[in-house]
């Protein structure tokens, strides 16, 4: 009897917390997404699907979806490929690998908010290092020609760099053409070190004998070895890395809130930031909740896709 009791108490706190902190809020969000509730007001009305409709109607939400998806589409491939590239380079080095590994992993660890602010300053249109260097590049012949493409015969006046040198360097975070790119860049900067570590682990799990077999079979160049052995054997790692990076990309918040607040012109209006802005700052709990539910669905789809792919692989090999 006492055995039963102790088992009970071991599990009950966790179960209670799971219900209260994880499961109940989902339902709360679900319910409120059908209302026009504001925190602090005594009552609220049931408005059915209106909130969800708003998400499809208003341009700011369309921009939100587009910005979030664009961000994911930019950040995932770059950070995955850079992570893979870094892992391949580092694992083939004779010495110094540990140092590069440490350096590339630093952004993953460092407080993103702090580093985002540092990046903001670096990208500042007037005093930032990036634009200062680019300005000097205007006067450096080979650099100017390279970036504008004038060495290939292109007209500098039609090139962004040519214009920038003639007029003004771009305002990376303040110009709606570039802001999303700048935020994505920071996202890639922060994420690729993580992917690198995952790929390094994946690389070490490839049986060495396969490379020897490939050599005996006639695979002579690194590229052929990569195609025949490395890339296919990294299959599970690929699925993993892409899913994790995608989910984390959907969750971007710190850089947006600190640097652009969704602007300019909602070009960096990401989903989680929208959830925060609408649900907390503007106290539009109904909309905020509907955003939450949509966000949850996106993430669920990504996670379940990963599970599907992993299972498929497990049954094949």
């Amino acid at each position: 009897m006492s055995k039963f009791r102790s088992h009970f108490w071991f599990v009950v706190p966790a179960v209670l917390l799971m219900i209260v902190i994880l499961i109940v809020p989902i339902f709360v969000a679900g319910i409120f997404s059908f209302t026009d509730y504001n925190l602090g007001s005594p009552d609220f009305r049931w408005i059915g699907w209106k909130n969800y409709e708003a998400l499809t109607k208003y341009s700011s939400y369309k921009k939100m979806f587009s910005a979030s998806l664009t961000y994911v589409v930019l950040v995932v491939p770059f950070s995955v490929l850079l992570g893979l590239g870094a892992a391949l380079l580092i694992s083939s080095l004779r010495f110094g690998g540990e140092i590069y590994k440490t350096v590339f992993f630093l952004p993953v660890m460092a407080t993103l908010l702090a580093m985002a602010i540092a990046w903001e300053f670096t990208l500042d249109p007037i005093v930032g290092l990036v634009n200062k260097l680019l300005s000097e590049g205007c006067n450096t012949n080979w650099f100017y020609q390279l970036i504008t493409g004038s060495w290939l015969g292109f007209n500098p006046a039609e090139n962004w760099y040519g214009n920038a040198c003639a007029d003004r360097m771009p305002n990376w975070l303040g110009n709606k053409k570039y802001a999303l790119g700048a935020i994505s860049f920071i996202g890639v900067w922060q994420a690729f070190g993580f992917n690198m570590v995952l790929y390094l682990a994946g690389l070490t799990s490839i049986p060495r004998d396969l490379y020897k077999a490939a050599e005996m079979d006639g695979a002579k160049s690194s590229w052929e070895r990569f195609k025949l052995v490395t890339w296919p054997m990294l299959g599970p790692t690929h699925v993993f890395v892409i899913t994790i990076t995608s989910i984390r990309s959907f969750q971007v918040f710190d850089t947006v809130e600190a640097l652009t607040r969704g602007g300019p012109s909602k070009s960096t209006y990401m989903m989680v930031y929208a959830m925060f802005e609408k649900g907390v700052k503007q106290n539009l709990v109904g909309i905020g909740s509907s955003l939450t539910i949509i966000f949850l669905l996106f993430v669920l789809v990504l996670t379940l896709t990963q599970v599907y792919f992993v299972n498929r692989r497990v049954h094949y090999s």
């Binding site: 570590v197 995952l198 709990v285």
Partner: protein, 298 residues
């Protein structure tokens, strides 16, 4: 491949990696460097890494009516002094410590017994509980933020340590991780302890915990890093009380308080916030990478 071309390709690899390293380190370098420099040097990006450390005049101090000698100091002193004085940076750091330590401690208290029960004990509803754990693993933390905030607001618990800590006390990831680990502990070890008369409760802390140290360490790192760096949740839940701000939130407030000229102190504050984890990382890289990679293993 002959020796020469191997050498050459090695150099190319290093060249590419160094290029990457420069881009990666750039913000760290600038952050640190600007925390040493005077406003003019920051504007013009001059003065090398440490800045020329010429004595500068703190204009605001002069405006406050203090004598000039008192207001003249080295830029590095000015920056770090301002960082600690303009914002209660020490308080923020303290909050960070309190919050991360509390969260981790409670996580362990809740997760270990549950993991042990799931791994080694049999009880009615065991599968349901495990199913719940798996289900909850799917829930991203940002999805519950808004409703949790509402619930806490209704309870009047915003702007409290409780609000900062409570939502994180349940770490399904921790339960899952520990369960997997505990399952590898031989049953005989536990049976021997039972024969010796140990209560199940003692078994958890005296038998299972010591064997799980490596996994716990990795989890600790994962938890501490995630919560020290967390900006989203504190931003939502701490709405007015500066004394409760965690480091990232504090830095953000600092930023919105400061005008454009105070980059020096802001970079100093950023440096102070980022440094503890970076130093710990440099000292124990392997453990860190293990811990953070565990996030992904979900």
């Amino acid at each position: 491949m002959n020796h020469q071309s191997k050498w050459f390709s090695e150099i190319i690899k290093h060249f590419i990696l160094i290029l990457g390293a420069v881009v990666v380190i750039l913000p760290f370098y600038l952050m640190l460097s600007f925390s040493f420099k005077s406003p003019s040097e920051i504007q013009s990006i001059s003065g090398g890494f440490f800045g020329s450390q010429e004595l500068m005049l703190d204009r605001r101090c002069v405006k406050e009516g203090k004598p000039e000698e008192e207001c003249t100091m080295l830029p590095i002193v000015y920056n770090y002094k301002a960082a600690f004085e303009e914002a209660p940076l020490l308080r923020y750091l303290l909050n960070g410590v309190i919050v991360t330590v509390s969260i981790f401690a409670i996580q362990i208290l809740i997760a270990l017994p549950c993991a042990y029960a799931l791994a080694k004990l049999n009880f009615l509803g065991k599968n349901i509980v495990f199913g719940m754990v798996i289900f909850c693993l799917l829930i991203p933390v940002h999805a519950i933020a808004l409703p949790l905030y509402l619930m806490l607001a209704k309870l009047g618990l915003t702007n409290t340590y409780a609000a900062l800590v409570i939502p994180w006390t349940i770490s399904v990831f921790g339960i899952f991780l520990m369960r997997q680990f505990f399952m590898t502990v031989p049953d005989d070890l536990i049976n021997a302890a039972r024969m010796d008369g140990m209560s199940e409760f003692s078994i958890i802390w005296k038998v299972m915990l010591p064997t799980a140290i490596p996994a716990l360490l990795a989890f600790a790192i994962f938890s501490v890093v995630a919560h020290w760096n967390d900006y989203y949740w504190p931003r939502i839940v701490i709405t007015g009380d500066r004394d409760l701000m965690t480091p990232p939130l504090g830095l953000r407030m600092f930023k919105s308080d400061m005008d454009g000229n105070e980059y020096g102190p802001m970079m100093a504050a950023a440096t102070i916030i980022v440094t503890p984890l970076v130093v710990a990382f440099l000292l124990a890289q392997r453990r860190f990478i293990e811990g953070i990679t565990l996030t992904g293993m979900k």
